[in-house]
Symmetry: none
DNA sequence: CTTTTCCAAGTTGTCTGACAAGATGTCAAC
DNA sequence: GTTGACATCTTGTCAGACAACTTGGAAAAG
C-alpha cells in the first residue's frame, strides 16, 4: 500500500507551524490573513482554512472573527514528546525503548510492592491473553502492551500507565508495531517472550520487588536485542 | 474580553473525537462520509471538512481520496500527557516525582557509563552553579534542574533530557517550583542537597554506574521527603 | 479640544455549486 | 477465473456569494 497523496493543506499547516516555532509570529501576534495566505501559497481559501483548522487543533492559534488568527502557543501541545523521533531510524526506536526500560523496571518493582489481588489477577489475565494470541499465531502487539499496562496500573500511580500509553504506542507508528508483531511470530520469539512475561508476573505475585525489576530489565533488554536483529535483517 | 463565539466545526470535531474514543468507530474503520456528516449535523460541507482537518492534526484519522476517512488512533497524540494532574494536590506532584525517579536513576547510571569528558565538565559546572546560587541565598530551582539536565544529557539519548524538560518543568507550575526554591533556603536543606549532588557527580566521574544510580535514588527519595514535609507544613 | 458615533474596509465564518481525482463494486466479455 | 469498462460514491479543490464581526479613521456632538 502506497502512501496517500498529500493534500494541499498539510504543507501549509506545516509551514505555519515552523514559522511560528521559529518566532516569525510571536505569541499574541496575528498571522497573515486568509486572503494573503491564499495568494502566497496559490491555493483556494478553503485549503488555507483547513490548514488553520489544523493549527487550531494543535492549540497554537485562536481565530477571532473579523479580527484575525492569533498565535497562542509556539509549539503544538505535547509536541516536545516526539521531537527528533524519526520512525525510520533504528536509533530513534532504541532511544525510546531505553527510556521505557527505565520506567518499566521501576514499575515492575513498585507493582510487586503495591499490587492488590485484583491487579494481580489482571496481570495474569493479560499474561494469558498474550499466550492465547501467541498460540493462535495472531499479532501479539496489543496483548503485549496490555500486559505491560496491567503492570504499570498495579503501581497505583497513574503516571506510569499514561507514560506507557504514550511511549508504548504513540511514539512508534502502527505499521511498525504491526510489522514487529508479524516478525516475532515468524522468528519464533514468542515462547521466549512468554517465558519472560511469566517470570515478571510471578515475581510481582510473590511481592519480590528486586526480582520483578530484574526480570523486567532482562525482558526489555531481550526486546531490544530482538528488535535490533529484526531491523538489521530487514535493511 | 469575552470568549470568541465558537465556530460550527469545533463541536463536530469534538463529537467525532468522543465517538472514536468511545469505540463507535474502531481503528481501521471508516467515518461517515462528508455528505452524511453534513446532513447529520445540518452544516455545510466545508464545516465538516474543517472538523476532519482538526482530527487529522490530532493524528486520529487519515483521509483517502475516493475511499473515505479512516480512524488510525482512538485518542489525540499526546492527549494523555497531563491527564488527571492537579497541581494543587500533593498526590499529583508526588506521582510525577516518582515517575521522574525511575527515569533519573537510570539516567545517572547511563551517564556514568557513557559520559564524555566534556559532559563530565558540564555536570561539575552545573554542580558549581547550584552551589553558587545556594551561597547567594537565591532560588536554586533553575540551577537544580540544570544539574539534572546535564546528567540526562550525558546519557547521550535525547529522550532523557526531553522527558526531564517536560516532567521537570512543564508538568509542575512555575509558582510551585519557585515556592519550593524559597522554602529549601529557609529550611536549611541546601547543604544536604549539595552533598547529595556531589556524590552523584563523583560517581558519574568515576564511571561507577551502580553508585551513580544509588546516589540519585537516595537524592530523589530525599527530595520527596523534603517536599512532603514542606507541603504538610504549608497546609 | 475631547468624546462619541458612524461607516468603510478588512477579516473570519458559512453556504452553494461545480469539477477533478480517486476508490469501489458490478457486469459483460474473453 | 480474469480483465476491462462503467456507474456510483467519496474526498480534494476551486470560485463566488453573503453573513457576522472587528478595526481604524473621519465626522459630528458636547
Amino acid at each position: 500500500m502506497l502512501k496517500p497523496k498529500p493534500n494541499l493543506s498539510a504543507p501549509i499547516a506545516q509551514a505555519l507551524r515552523e514559522a511560528i516555532g521559529q518566532g516569525q509570529f510571536a505569541i499574541g501576534q496575528k498571522l497573515p490573513s486568509e486572503a494573503n495566505l491564499t495568494a502566497l501559497h496559490s491555493v483556494s481559501r478553503p485549503v488555507v482554512r483547513e490548514a488553520i483548522a489544523e493549527l487550531r487543533a494543535d492549540g497554537m492559534v485562536e481565530a477571532r472573527q473579523g479580527a484575525g488568527v492569533f498565535v497562542i502557543r509556539q509549539q503544538p501541545i505535547g509536541s516536545a514528546l516526539f521531537e527528533g523521533i524519526d520512525p525510520e531510524k533504528l536509533s530513534s526506536i532504541l532511544e525510546i525503548l531505553e527510556l521505557r526500560t527505565a520506567v518499566e523496571v521501576e514499575a515492575a518493582s513498585l507493582a510487586a510492592q503495591r499490587r492488590s489481588p485484583a491487579q494481580e489477577d489482571a496481570i495474569f489475565s493479560a499474561l494469558k491473553a498474550f499466550e492465547e494470541a501467541a498460540a493462535a499465531q495472531v499479532s501479539t502487539v496489543e496483548s503485549d502492551l496490555a500486559f505491560h499496562l496491567a503492570i504499570a496500573s498495579a503501581t497505583n500511580n497513574p503516571r506510569f500507565p499514561q507514560f506507557l500509553t504514550m511511549f508504548g504506542r504513540d511514539a512508534i507508528p502502527r505499521d511498525r508495531l504491526a510489522a514487529q508483531g508479524q516478525e516475532f511470530i515468524a522468528d519464533g520469539y514468542l515462547s521466549q517472550i512468554q517465558s519472560e512475561h511469566r517470570q515478571i508476573a510471578e515475581a510481582i505475585a510473590a511481592r519480590d520487588a528486586g526480582a520483578a525489576g530484574a526480570a523486567m530489565r532482562a525482558h526489555l533488554q531481550g526486546s531490544q536485542q530482538r528488535y535490533r536483529r529484526m531491523l538489521h535483517r530487514s535493511a
